[in-house]
Structure formats: structure tokens, C-alpha cells
Symmetry: C3
Subunit: 138 residues, 3 copies
Amino acid sequence: MRSFTRELWFEVPRRMDFVHITREVQDCVQESGVQEGLCLVNAMHITASVFINDNEGGLHEDYKEWLERLAPHDPSRYRHNRTGEDNGDAHHKRQVMGREVTVAITEGQLHLGTWERIFYGEFDGRRKKRVLVKIIGE
Amino acid sequence: MRSFTRELWFEVPRRMDFVHITREVQDCVQESGVQEGLCLVNAMHITASVFINDNEGGLHEDYKEWLERLAPHDPSRYRHNRTGEDNGDAHHKRQVMGREVTVAITEGQLHLGTWERIFYGEFDGRRKKRVLVKIIGE
Amino acid sequence: MRSFTRELWFEVPRRMDFVHITREVQDCVQESGVQEGLCLVNAMHITASVFINDNEGGLHEDYKEWLERLAPHDPSRYRHNRTGEDNGDAHHKRQVMGREVTVAITEGQLHLGTWERIFYGEFDGRRKKRVLVKIIGE
């Protein structure tokens, strides 16, 4: 069994935004030498997501508006913010979009559908945060 | 290490519906010969889900009504639909229900709880779409 | 390849509550002897979740209030409850919070971000329920 571990760093200039990271994950797969296996990609922060969807700007704006409606930023709304934080909303948005994806590796490539793209979802940005790529296989 | 890869095809006649696929996934596990491992099952499309829940028709109708309330079909509501699509809602519904499940394989069987069943969740049907089953283990 | 399987039991005295289980999962990793691999942790019940977020009581109260707003307990609201159940809401809350997490194992430890903690999320408690920990790796 082979394994591969890499932490990717991001600093998103806006509070909420999505970063396309399929290329970075593909590079990890190539470097790992794994031909058949699984590739876990997860946010290492609890106010961020890794998710798979379309690389289409209009959809991303739709997501932001929808997440803002489901869990508004409004800092006074969350008990969590009594700890001195103002990111209670981000902990909620991240649960809707998910923490992680697991992607199959087949014949040395990410086994993705035609339109599947991997994104880092930031909900409390403007600071450095990490994504973990862990690959196991053969 | 053994690995196994299979793409399952579905053509759901309605825009939104759920298809019970536990049997198909079990067949893959059997065919793989894996006794101890992990089985990833994921939608290969970004307007569909794979999820685990109850095989109970009333619940499925509840889910549809709830998802329609959280992300109504209404095509004029989504910027994504300016690209010529009418499935903006489906990209949202899929995020609530999730892209994938990972199921343990123990003693050659899917290690599921008593009521756990695997479903393909379609939110933009009436065309052929794929689910990926990837198994690794020993 | 090594593998490890353990079912953890919980009996949560309230209908909805969250139980911190990072320690129990860490113990499984240690016992497995796996140095590099993946650790799947999933609810074996379809009215419960396993998720990763902050170990902060205010946030947990925020989550409960938010989930209650997204899918109120109100038993008359769900077709599912015509089967004699009163837990239709729990099947919905669990979909928002997710069924499972997959955590990387690196150098014999759960590879978690600074604030990542693993929780069992109960939405239909007051009875014994199970969580599965499955580890594969080397």
C-alpha cells in the first residue's frame, strides 16, 4: 500500500468565497504514484468546506445568497459569538456544504464525472487556512 | 490490496426521485472479493446525490417537499440558469443530500445498520446519469 | 493492509444532543496499529449523524435551534410519521449534519486540524444506538 499526505494552504481575501482546487488535487495524485485507490480531501478548519460541484460563477453566487439566507452572517444571532467570535454563521454554512469529499483514483487519475470539480469553500476568510489531501492505494 | 471499479447507469423518468441501490452495491462488493475494506459510492453528476436513509415512501415524499422548500425549482430564481440551464435548484438540493457515502466492508459484506439503505438521489432526471462504485481493501 | 472494526454504543438521554467522541476514535486508531490510512466514522442509524466541528456549547445550542427551524419536530408535519413513528424530523436533521466523516491517519494519529473534533449527533435519542469505526491502512 502507498500513502501520500499534503496540506494545501489558502488565504481567501473575502469572508465567503470558493476556490477551484481540482488541479492541485490532481497534482497530488500524480505525485503519489497511486494507480488504484481513494483520495480524501478535507477542510482542516471548521468554518470551511471542501465540496464538488460546477465551475460556474453564477452558481457560486447563487450558493452564497442561499447560504446567507439559510444561516445569515448577523453576529448577534449566534450564542457561539459570545465567545468573542463573529463567525457563528460560518460553522453553519460549512455543515450545509460539507467538510470533505472522497474521490476514487482509477488508472492513476481522479475518477471524476464530466462536470465534477473540487472546490475549497471559505466561510470565514481573510486568514491562512489549510486543506488536507490524503491518498491511499496501490 | 484489491480494488474494484464500476459505473452504474440510471435514467430516472421524473425530475426528482430516489432509487434504492443497496442491492447493486452489494453485488459489487461480492464481485470485488474484498473481505475488509471501504466502498465509496458517489454520484458522478453535480445535480444528483448518493445518500443513506430509510426505504420508506412517505419519508421520500417528505424529503422532496422539504428540498423544494429549501431550494425551489423556480428557474428564474438562479443566476446559474442564465447559462441556458433550468437546473439551478438541483445543484442546491444535491448539496443538502450530499454527493457520496463511504460504507465499511466487514467479512465480505456492506457493514450497514439495521435500517441503512443506499439511494441514488436524482434532482434533474429524464436523462442517463452515472454512479461510481469504488472498492479498496483485502 | 491492516483493518480494524469497532461499534461504539450510545444512549443519549435527550431527543437531540451531541456527544464528543474524538477520544474514543483516537483509541481505535491506536489499537489498530495503523500508521498511514483512513478512518471512517459513521452513524449506523438513519436518525443520527457523525460530524466534525467545534467543541463549544454555545455553537451546539445554535445548531439545535437552527436544525429545529430547518426541520421542526412537529410530528404531524411528516408523512413518515403515518408509519407510527414520530421522528420524521430526525431523518431530515441528520441529512443536514451528515452521516459520516472520513479522517486521515498520519504517523499513527488522527490527522485533524487544530479545532476539529468528532461528534455523534443524536436526533432521536433515549435509546441505544451505534456508531461504526472502520480503519484501513498500514
